[in-house]
């Protein structure tokens, strides 16, 4: 697929796949100047995997029946301990443009009686509570991931990157 550079007007060819003939493989030492061009609209193709609905006043019962909570997961899946240790660690992958809220995490841990434990390492400064308050869509994925990985494995070094 040919592309013309805007300023130099040089023509470049883009191919989604390239190979060299197997008969040449033995004799090829190196191939230089191969460039990976970005996908068009790549970020739009990058999908998180969750859907959500706001809980309205009155939807919750005191038993939380019908919902998944850390306690429900522990019970059903025979998670007999949530105690990690300092000998191991865990990380959540976060896409560009996604943030999380340490405030939301603290509220979640308070509500579900999980010992308070903040994220230990925030590699790309994703902790932006104001982003979550302004538009929760900015944080849903990472908040979900952190709240549940840290509720299952507690007392463990946890990172987001």
């Amino acid at each position: 697929m040919p592309y013309k550079h805007i300023s130099s007007e040089a023509i470049y060819f883009r191919s989604s796949v390239y190979e060299i003939p197997s008969t040449l493989t033995e004799h090829v030492f190196a191939i230089y100047n191969i460039m990976e061009l970005p996908f068009l609209n790549y970020e739009n193709r990058f999908q998180g995997n969750y859907r959500r609905t706001l809980i309205e006043d009155g939807d919750l019962t005191s038993s939380l029946f019908g919902y998944i909570t850390p306690a429900a997961l522990n019970s059903f899946y025979n998670i007999f301990t949530n105690q990690g240790n300092s000998l191991t660690s865990q990380t959540i992958y976060s896409a560009v443009g996604q943030y999380f809220s340490s405030d939301d995490l603290a509220i979640f841990q308070f509500y579900f009686e999980i010992p308070w434990h903040p994220v230990d390492l925030d590699v790309n400064s994703r902790d932006q509570p104001s982003q979550c308050n302004d538009n929760p869509n900015n944080c849903g994925e990472s908040n979900l991931d952190l709240q549940y990985i840290m509720s299952i494995a507690q007392n463990t070094t946890t990172s987001i990157m």
């Binding site: 460039m35 995997n49 809980i55 865990q90």
Partner: protein
């Protein structure tokens, strides 16, 4: 001896490759990584992006790292067919869920109400349909071939044609993925998704690593060989449901659950105690990276080629979608794409002094674990 080929990779735009390359080059790793994102394989026609990711993840697996990924929320058809008409769907697996070096997690439902645990699907009342199928980019790895072969030879219901019969089957395992409660922006939401199942399983693996490390053992690393060697003995087998819908439509394409492994829920949902026993208490089950069993990279040209349906029907059968939500579902159970700010009142969360009016959630983190009062 010098390598025969040198590929200069110059790309800062592909998020997964950049991430995995940084990971492999880093001297410090976490022991477990959880990825809740994916991109359709049909967008990866260049193959090199996916292959580069695999190469880097293989390196970190060899260092004792476990990587888990969500299987996707749009069934076997994938998110590109989220709004497709039934007749225009196609199989479109999700990457990196299809990476052989990643342990892929699907979603189930039923746990939240104490009913039978089945595949999470919109036609059962969920907001998503768990993803699964067979990669068009990567072949089934050696440890997986037997269960894939068994499924394909004796499927409970023959799947609509057009899927790869040699590709890496996914997911590997599942866990509840319906009606999770989370706090987001100070409000309470219920969430569906393999994005919920995946970090939960990741937490389980972290607990197992913690026990192994405490016992002087290595971390579990690349998990798939041990999972498949066990034959799924750690799992609650899921035998009801399918992944023929996306999160907002239903397709002809999709698979049905079956006894044992299937491309809807893998081996089934993870029983932590059994997995713990398998990976911590059974010395011979300690996972290891068997390079001889690693899928050949790169695959042949035919393996890279997306599979076209071998048999095209001349007429499209009608598909009746059962959309009635379960009795336990709140009335607001329609899929909601989070593109706008919520406009409805937030649910009350417990406070020390419950009132009859909705309360504002605390806007700041507590400085220490607060004492909890009983919910109203």
């Amino acid at each position: 001896m010098l390598t025969r080929k040198i590929f200069r990779y110059d790309n800062s735009t592909d998020a997964f490759v950049t991430w995995s390359t940084n990971l492999a080059n880093s001297k410090i790793h976490s022991d477990v990584y959880s990825i809740s994102y994916g991109v359709a394989e049909s967008y990866l026609a260049g193959y090199s992006i996916a292959n580069s990711f695999n190469t880097e993840i293989l390196k970190v697996c060899a260092m004792g790292v476990t990587v888990l990924a969500a299987s996707g929320d749009d069934g076997a058809a994938g998110y590109r067919h989220r709004s497709s008409a039934t007749s225009s769907c196609a199989y479109d697996p999700l990457f990196p869920a299809t990476s052989p070096y990643v342990t892929t997690v699907g979603a189930t439902m039923g746990v939240e109400t104490g009913s039978e645990e089945v595949a999470c699907a919109t036609d059962g009342g969920a907001l998503i349909t768990t993803g699964g199928g067979f990669s068009t980019l990567f072949p089934s790895f050696s440890q997986q071939k037997a269960v894939v072969k068994k499924y394909l030879q004796t499927p409970p219901t023959k799947a609509y044609p057009g899927y790869s019969t040699t590709g890496r089957g996914y997911p590997d395992v599942s866990l509840a993925g319906h009606n999770y409660l989370i706090v987001d922006g100070g409000l309470l939401y219920r969430v569906d998704g393999t994005s919920a199942s995946t970090p939960t399983v990741a937490g389980m693996i972290t607990l197992i690593n913690a026990a192994r490390r405490a016992a002087g053992l290595s971390t579990v690393g690349w998990l798939n060989p041990a999972l498949y060697a066990s034959g799924g003995s750690f799992a609650n087998d899921i035998t009801s449901g399918n992944n023929k819908c996306t999160s907002s439509a239903c397709c002809l394409q999709g698979f049905y659950t079956a006894p044992g492994w299937d491309p809807v829920t893998g081996f089934g949902s993870v029983d932590f105690t059994k997995l713990y026993d398998l990976l911590v208490h059974t010395p011979t089950s300690a996972p290891s990276l068997h390079l001889s069993s690693v899928p050949t990279l790169p695959p042949t040209a035919s393996q890279r080629k997306p599979v076209s349906p071998s048999v095209a029907p001349t007429s499209v059968p009608s598909l009746r979608k059962t959309s009635a939500p379960s009795k336990s579902m709140p009335s607001q159970s329609h899929p909601v794409t989070p593109t706008t700010l919520p406009t409805r009142a937030a649910a009350r969360l417990p406070t020390k002094k419950p009132t009859s009016k909705p309360v504002q959630l605390p806007s700041r983190s507590p400085t220490k674990p607060p004492k909890r009062t009983t919910p109203k």
